[in-house]
Symmetry: C2
Subunit: 190 residues, 2 copies
DNA sequence: ACCATAACTGTCCGATCGGTCAGCTATGAC
DNA sequence: GTCATAGCTGACCGATCGGACAGTTATGGT
């Protein structure tokens, strides 16, 4: 049987992934056609489908590292609790967002269909657990909303084109996230 | 000449807008076909294009109120400065996000093509000014990043399906946003 | 020289999209 | 009755999509 398996690495293959990542991140997955990618790469559309079994296979290969990173964070956070969980979740999540900024942009552009993509593992459950960790395992409305906001804040701020060096952005996002999650420093205490 | 103008209100017209808003918000604009809308409404695809000049015209009618609301906030924030600007921006932005949760979901699902949609006015400039207000007119990295994060936080938390009553969600989002933007309360306050 | 295989492409295909158009039906004015 | 008009529809159109496939060229082992 001549099953078209994933072809081994080659010069063109790398160029395809590179161009596809760029196009997906800037224009979205659905809005980017195989023709667009082929034009950017400088090869034929059929050549793309020689190196990859489908358009989705290209996306999968691009998203897999990010999905694995998220899964690893999930595992790492599982045994932690309370403030420890929240802080580890913040740092881990921010680092993840920084490392996969372009991949996040792809997800961001096609949320509805993308969050269910197999390459990202079971997003719903993973995200739910990440939220739980960010909230320090608390179910109080205040903490749940704050966790949800940190999730969105880092997600969007990481994908945005803020004119700030990466290292600085990372540190500020961590600080701001912890500020968001920490109890109010007002007169009342709990 | 017989220019097909926007038809006046009618029962079916209302149902179309209602169904379209629901479908766009849950599945995204691009991913929702006229056939999908027609099926949901229970009429023919051609009937949609009798009441609306195009698919885009449906979207425009759905997004226009949100665009006007954003423009109004823009005007309201213009004369304010510093902490006053930041707090007014937070409250105004959160209220806007709450009022147009479903519309935001539409934008969220098709960011690349949607942020440039005429119905939302000149998004880039408006968002930039909103960010400036959120940062309290500061250009310090810390404040700029925090503002960007609040923007994303409210945007996503508002569009998410958190199981929290609207009023409570609004108040918590405002509190958390102010926490994010507020200067660090010294090394340790607790 | 021969040939198997890899790398690549031109061309075609079915599906689906947004949109057009001629025509059907119901209603109300005269 | 007659006629204009509003509301609505089935059938069709061109464009574009992802993908299939036969065929061409380049390469390296024997």
């Amino acid at each position: 049987m001549v099953v078209p398996m994933a072809r081994p690495a080659s010069a063109l293959r790398g160029h395809i992934l590179e161009s596809a990542l760029h196009l997906f991140a800037s224009g979205g997955y659905e809005a980017t056609s195989l023709h667009d990618i082929a034009t950017a790469v400088g090869c034929s559309k059929a050549s793309l489908l020689y190196h990859f079994t489908s358009k989705d296979a290209i996306l999968t290969e691009l998203l897999t590292p990010a999905g694995e990173g998220l899964a690893a964070l999930d595992t790492q956070l599982a045994p932690l609790d309370g403030r420890e969980a929240a802080e580890a979740a913040v740092i881990g999540y921010v680092d993840l967002a920084m490392r996969f900024r372009r991949e996040i942009k792809i997800l961001f552009a096609d949320i509805p269909g993308m969050t269910a993509h197999p390459a990202m593992g079971s997003i719903p459950g993973t995200v739910e657990r990440l939220l739980d960790a960010l909230a320090g395992r608390s179910t109080r409305t205040r903490d749940v909303v704050a966790a949800q906001m940190v999730l969105g804040a880092v997600f969007l701020a990481g994908a945005s084109d803020v004119d700030v060096p990466a290292q600085e952005l990372r540190d500020e996002m961590i600080r701001a996230s912890l500020r968001t999650l920490r109890p109010d420093p007002g007169p009342e205490r709990d």
